[in-house]
Symmetry: C2
Subunit: 146 residues, 2 copies
DNA sequence: CATTTTTGTAACAATTACTATTACATCTTT
DNA sequence: AAAGATGTAATAGTAATTGTTACAAAAATG
């Protein structure tokens, strides 16, 4: 199972907000046009980002913008904001192993710390990447011949 | 989205095969009883593990066993055997960004190598854990007062 | 060789998550 | 009051996961 596109959409949204913040009012329709998804999808993700304190959204007049400097927003922040993983565990465990079997009785405990290690490795890398990096790369490619 | 329970079930299966290989014939019904899922679920995963060269399954007479020493089977081997991730990419990308937008046009390329880094961090950790470690831990807990 | 046990797999259902879409109440400015 | 946005509920379609029944095919055994 893949991680849902909400994650890459959210990053795309933040990159758009930053890129166009001085030129346009960045509304959900504006974002929907760049990302090419339904505006309601944008608004749902916008709400999740707002609840996580990553963006500010203006009601009535409209428009969204990052709530803090992009170098302070990591991929992990975005991931946690939009990806609702049950119990915050990446791996789904089979629920009812047989407690009368020595393997079934102990497998959960034994695997747990190993799977946490894997999840932490992934989250450590997510945390090491900031939205600022994305903006830097974006500026590089848009400056050189588009 | 969580990684499916096929992964932890597969590890449980291999741990069972190794634990009981001398005492019992380890059939799909036997495994289903320890793991507490339907035998057909077991057989499906067994086929995937067989196709990946991780186990050998006897038809007719029945029984499954690891195809190589457990210290040579990593969590990554098992993960790849049972988890069918599209294009081998952990992150699902939104498909049709707007090519007329400077962000939409470049976001995919810019994100790709960053997301690969995350996936590699995860796979590196999966590769560092072997089934032998699971067996060692299992022996430790079953020796000391069960 | 027939029987028995087991694997391999198809078929179907139930559940869940994701994504798209319509509709509309609510908020804020003008 | 009107206009333009957001927030959110409701619904539908699709896909993946898991459970289950059913049965053909394989292999050992008497």
């Amino acid at each position: 199972m893949q991680i849902s596109s909400r994650f890459t959409i959210a990053i795309h949204m933040l990159a758009c907000m930053e890129t166009f913040k001085d030129e346009y009012k960045v509304t959900s329709d504006f974002l929907a046009d760049s990302i090419n998804v339904n505006p309601v999808v944008i608004r749902r993700i916008l709400s999740q980002l707002r609840d996580a304190g990553l963006v500010q959204v203006k009601r009535g007049t409209g428009g969204a913008a990052a709530a803090k400097p992009l170098k302070e927003i990591t991929f992990l922040d975005v991931y946690r904001a939009v990806e609702c993983i049950e119990n915050n565990t990446l791996f789904h465990f089979h629920e009812n192993p047989n407690m009368d079997c020595p393997v079934g009785k102990n497998i959960h405990n034994i695997l747990d710390d190993k799977l946490v290690r894997v999840q932490e490795a992934m989250e450590r890398e997510l945390k090491a990447i900031t939205l600022e990096e994305v903006m830097d790369d974006l500026k590089t490619v848009t400056d050189n011949g588009r």
